[in-house]
């Protein structure tokens, strides 16, 4: 997942050169079989469900679709999803840059520990993450009595959902930036320093412009996950209609109530989000690919 943006491009020209060379070319049959297999796979496992979502959502017509979307509980779920993303993404943006900066440009004790920790949300099941928050902040949890004394609700309330969302989206920005910043090295920052720039000036005028596309890429992925997360959020949510349901949870509830049209209507919004994410991602990759190659690499 990490570094997708930075590695995918250089190989393109190479592949073409390899293929045009008769001495290196594989039989055409091999190529077409591979292409057919992967196309069939993607069509049946990715495109078909996507089509199903939209056709189910619109089965009862646009009118019913629209009504399902403006239904108060659905609107509340959208609002909560947007809120969770609006808090989790900026926080992870700041944390991601800080962590990537620390790892890529500094040497310190415990660097490997930090790298491993950043990956933790990828390696732990989201459900476990949710359970951890219950264990810590729940009524029977460590801080439970203290929290209820002070009348603060975290679990089965909005703060819990936001915490869970932050947890599962931690790696995206940092993972995207670390290889990028490591590849760019320290020299440009040193040059800025010698030329009299302060730390802030160096960051905003040199570091940030150099990582902006990778950063945007990480933010997009982070946002997609923040809005789409189900497991961790499901555990801490408590499924209170109109209050602690995010869109994925709302879809599940509607579906379990056999309200398929409404469930797929909300689901179609999530699918749309995925499509938009994909488009933005492609645009960024295209921009990254056109970006002048890192200079000075020996």
């Amino acid at each position: 997942m990490a570094g997708v943006a930075s590695h995918a491009f250089g190989s393109r020209a190479h592949a073409a050169r390899f293929e045009r060379n008769p001495a290196a070319r594989e039989p055409a049959a091999v190529k077409w079989i591979i292409i057919t297999v992967s196309m069939l796979f993607f069509a049946s496992f990715l495109l078909l469900p996507l089509y199903a979502v939209f056709s189910e959502a619109l089965r009862k017509g646009w009118q019913a679709y629209w009504e399902a979307l403006v239904e108060p509980d659905a609107v509340a779920s959208m609002r909560l999803t947007l809120l969770a993303a609006a808090i989790a993404v900026p926080l992870n943006l700041v944390f991601g840059i800080a962590a990537a900066w620390a790892i890529a440009k500094h040497d310190f004790r415990g660097k490997h520990v930090l790298v491993t920790l950043i990956d933790l949300p990828f390696s732990v099941s989201p459900v476990i993450a949710g359970l951890v928050y219950i264990l810590v902040f729940g009524a029977q949890g460590w801080f439970g009595p203290w929290l209820s004394e002070h009348d603060i609700k975290i679990v089965f309330a909005v703060p819990g959902i936001i915490l869970a969302t932050i947890f599962v989206t931690v790696p995206f920005v940092a993972r995207e930036l670390i290889p990028l910043m490591e590849a760019q090295g320290r020299e440009e920052e040193e040059a800025a320093l010698v030329l009299g720039a302060t730390g802030w000036q160096t960051f905003f005028r040199v570091t940030l412009p150099n990582i902006k596309w990778g950063l945007l890429y990480g933010v997009i992925l982070c946002n997609a996950r923040a809005m789409g997360e189900f497991g961790a959020v499901s555990v801490v949510s408590g499924h209170i209609r109109g209050q602690t349901n995010t869109m994925p949870l709302q879809v599940e509830i509607l579906y379990n109530e056999y309200n398929f049209a409404a469930a797929f209507a909300v689901a179609s919004l999530l699918a749309l989000l995925a499509l938009v994410t994909l488009v933005i991602k492609t645009v960024i990759e295209w921009r990254l690919g056109r970006e002048p190659h890192p200079i000075g690499a020996p």
Binding site: V194, L195, G196, H293, G296
Partner: protein, 361 residues
Amino acid sequence: MSIRVENIQRSFGAFKALDGVTLDFPTGELVALLGPSGCGKTTLLRIIAGLDFADSGRILLDGEDASSTHVRERKVGFVFQHYALFRHMTVFENVAFGLRVKRKGRPLDKVIRAKVTELLKLVQLDWLADRYPAQLSGGQRQRIALARALAVGPSVLLLDEPFGALDAKVRKELRRWLRRLHDELHITSIFVTHDQEEALELADRVVVMNRGKVEQVGAAEDVYSNPATPFVYEFLGAVNEFRGNVVGEGLQVGTDVIPQVGRGYGNGQQVVGFARPHELDIVVDHANTNVGVPARVNRILSFGPVARIELSRLNGGGETTEQQFEVQLPAQRLAELQLTTGQAVRLLSSRLRLFDQGSVK
């Protein structure tokens, strides 16, 4: 600005990068730090710039201790080996950077524009102002990097292997160009290089370093013709080595003698004699003699005005050994000798430079 470093120590773990280096860099001079990779020359340069720090020792800029002065306030211009141009900025913005980030007394846009244009003219690249670094050749990038460093009006210019990443032809051009530029601007400049030719050709003074220590400091001519240590001798050019004892005024190598090598060493002392390829002569008509070191001709490269002859040393029994020699002769001399490959000859030199055997690894 004059620079003085005093007793600089710097270690990376167990590795001693700099081991008690003391040097003076007088105002307006162009000095080369020359040495093999890992000798500490770049570390020293970075410590002077403030990009690295010394474990102990002092750096004096114009006589004032600058050890704790921030990089920003040291007024140094630094040119990096791999240019370190800001890749997302145009050439113009790269050069303007140092002026734009000034917090006190930042010049007006008009002034910046004029200054940058002037600098780009100085490096003869004003026609590239709107390009991005990736669109430039290596030599052009390096000149832009220099213009950028000069923009802030540094009192010292530090260049880290400035031509290291360029091909031979461009390197030679830039070398001359940099020398002219220095003669115009007279900024105290230090550059790091591992290329002895570059150091000798370009610098007013050369500092030869090895394993974190200074081996010799002097003018190019001085360092080249009077190397202070065996290391300097070997590092500055091709070398032929003769191990033996001093006998009178000659050097006895095995059973043979190279006469008249000079004085300064007592009879019987164990020494190593060094000679450059052009300081050796070949003689052919010494059948029953022990004057000159016997060798067999392996190869004759006779293109150009100077011929190169590669030889293997012969032992007492006339068999070839591992030891190789290289001799340079004027083409005319080669014609006189009428050498052929495989021929046994003797080598002589009147300019052997002797070192105590203990000082040679």
